[in-house]
């Protein structure tokens, strides 16, 4: 179990990197009952004049939570998560979630995160979502309403 003494402000959160393929996007559309054609239909995508099928922005929220839970383990609870969209992400691109600890409380951490798109050279091509901020409860798998 992770505790406050394990963390310091300024610590980096291990990054999470994920390539988002068209099949992943179709699976996501099914899992969320969101069949908006911009996420998978070439004809609709062409009519919208965007370079390719657009990744549902809500995916970034899910990945930011995954980044936190993969790092802190099952005994943590993401109580709050805010994020702002900056740029579209398209099918077959790779994103990376990055984060830093900005506050260490008795029973919680506050993290600043962002989601970036990785370019062909391995560098940051653009920011997909930022700023993002999470408040995470430590030592509990469930929230205050459980």
């Amino acid at each position: 179990m992770t505790t406050r003494t394990d963390h310091r402000a300024g610590d980096a959160v291990p990054p999470l990197e994920r390539r988002i393929g068209l099949s992943d996007m179709v699976a996501y559309a099914g899992a969320t009952w969101d069949w908006y054609r911009l996420h998978y239909d070439p004809e609709f995508v062409r009519a919208a004049r965007v370079p390719g099928p657009v990744v549902d922005g809500q995916v970034f929220g899910a990945l930011l939570v995954e980044q936190i839970q993969d790092w802190l383990g099952p005994r943590c609870f993401v109580h709050k998560l805010d994020f702002t969209f900056k740029a579209l992400v398209f099918a077959e691109e790779t994103v990376r979630c990055e984060g830093t600890v900005v506050e260490v409380g008795e029973d919680h951490l506050v993290l600043e995160q962002r989601v970036v798109v990785i370019g062909p050279d391995g560098g940051v091509d653009r920011v997909a979502a930022a700023p993002a901020r999470a408040r995470v409860l430590l030592g509990t798998a469930d929230g205050p309403g459980a």
């Binding site: 009952w33 908006y36 899910a62 990945l63 839970q69 998560l81």
Partner: protein, 166 residues
């Protein structure tokens, strides 16, 4: 021309309520985990979940704010079968601003979700290039079959004027 008209101002306070026709189900969370590539055993292994203090499996937290499962709406030509306010403002393009989630507890397979959406604010602003914007803020409150609070989701939709900027 201002995008912030009296008609737009009158949208504040408008509500829509959706109650799921059935329990959330364990498969919903497991499927969402697979779809996003999150193989956390809290979503698939009841014994593991119980060992860490839960009653059983749960779902990735953001699913409750992302799924259209409980909206129970027909599929329109563009495929989006989720909550919408149906606000159309000619001469603008619509973009998503962001989300602010608060999670009160993890969802359980037996939960029957009610989502209550409300428009909380409308505001006019200008982009850096001088184009007019209209920001529509909404809040969704997700509750269980006993009225217990599961999560809240504040989101902004921005309408940006296609002409008028530098």
């Amino acid at each position: 021309m201002s995008l912030l008209t009296d008609e737009v101002r009158a949208l504040v306070g408008r509500k829509k309520v959706y109650t799921a026709p059935e329990e959330f189900g364990a498969a919903a969370g497991r499927y969402f985990g697979l779809a996003i590539g999150d193989h956390n055993r809290l979503y698939s292994d009841p014994e593991y979940a119980r060992a860490h203090g839960l009653r059983g499996v749960t779902a990735p937290p953001t699913l409750i704010c992302e799924t259209n499962q409980y909206a129970n709406l027909p599929i329109p030509p563009d495929g989006y079968a989720g909550h919408e306010w149906g606000i159309e403002i000619p001469g603008t393009r619509k973009v998503r601003g962001g989300n602010s989630y608060t999670f009160h507890r993890r969802i359980r397979p037996e939960d029957v979700v009610t989502a209550t959406w409300e428009i909380t604010d409308v505001a006019g602003k200008a982009t850096r290039s001088g184009a007019e914007m209209l920001i529509v803020s909404s809040r969704a409150t997700y509750t269980d079959q006993d009225g217990g609070l599961l999560a809240e989701n504040e989101e902004t939709i921005i309408f940006v004027a296609l002409e008028g900027g530098k």
